[in-house]
Subunit: 198 residues, 2 copies
């Protein structure tokens, strides 16, 4: 990129290292930033640095937060006896967007993956088990529907079952609006197995 | 996004204002940044601020650069008698990537658009005309193949013709590897009009 001056090339290069940002998007972003009002760029830069330095794990659910407790764990309006286990904070966000789940969460920050050498000790499982010492009625496992997510779900359910606490797994099947024709076979079989009586 | 703590929501919100970054990508980027090594985030933030504050217009071709002259205008190996007119610095980058163009550029920073109220005075046209006072042999107009790009090309060619300098327009037609079946009619007609003898 020596046709761009050094500052611009440097910015494009650093931006293109971010996930989901290829060389073209990085170029577009870089030129956009250069054309933004100076204060806005400074503002964005300082928000990034601040978020990075102030954000830590929630004492309860391990999600990322800038307080001791995240807004959900701190809320008295939520049902603290129901814990939904998710892989990462974005999955928590996905369920929060539905606006229909009133329990709390537990964020694992990953999933068990023998392929990648990620074992049960590498995710926030110990913290989950500690929470179960207190008054918990149900643990809903909402890890992804991938090999790693399923492995993690199985592992957690085996761990929790002896405690007598109810453990459930979110349903896997045909997405709403999905056209059967375009859905993979594994999903179709899952949908069949998980059929409910009408 | 009150389910995320305030610092995280703020970062997501600011990132989602960037072009091509929707709410989902902003979330992914924000959590990625929070998980990046602290120094890397600080580095990216300072690169952004520096690029924004130091980058200005090249004295010759008006592209964005952090020097008085951009690397291309400063080069003695380029043919300074051939000027390719582009709408923005990324278009310049696109032609540079081909590695086959040895002339210099002129960046308009936009295109004439009566719809958006952008007239000839709002793009860097005066600067182009000033450059033509010096020793120039050909002006290649490489504005986009859109309504605005074509309007701008027509306007510039009419402006330059009286000076006797050669003006050309890049060809418009079927892209290489393009399947005729999927190409729009206007492009097909352009390709037909622009046919060359074999």
């Amino acid at each position: 990129m020596d046709y761009y001056s050094s500052q611009i090339s440097k910015l494009i290069e650093e931006l293109s290292r971010l996930p989901g940002i290829g060389a073209k998007s990085a170029g577009r972003l870089a030129f956009h930033m250069i054309n933004m009002p100076k204060e806005q760029v400074e503002q964005l830069a300082s928000t990034m640095v601040q978020a990075r330095s102030q954000v830590r794990y929630c004492r309860e659910c391990c999600t990322l937060t800038d307080e001791e407790l995240c807004p959900i764990c701190a809320s008295t309006e939520r049902d603290h006896k129901t814990i939904m286990v998710v892989e990462n904070p974005r999955d928590l966000g996905a369920y929060e967007k539905t606006g229909k789940y009133n329990g709390v969460y537990h964020v694992l920050h990953g999933a068990i993956s023998p392929m990648l050498g990620i074992g049960p000790g590498d995710i926030r499982l110990k913290e989950l088990m500690e929470r179960l010492q207190r008054d918990v009625e149900e643990v809903i496992i909402a890890t992804n529907s991938s090999l790693e997510g399923e492995t993690t779900a199985m592992y957690i359910s085996k761990l929790i079952k002896p405690t007598g606490i109810k453990v459930s797994r979110i349903a896997s099947g045909v997405p709403v609006g999905g056209d059967l024709e375009y859905i993979d076979e594994v999903t179709l079989l899952r949908a069949l197995e998980g059929r409910t009586e009408l």
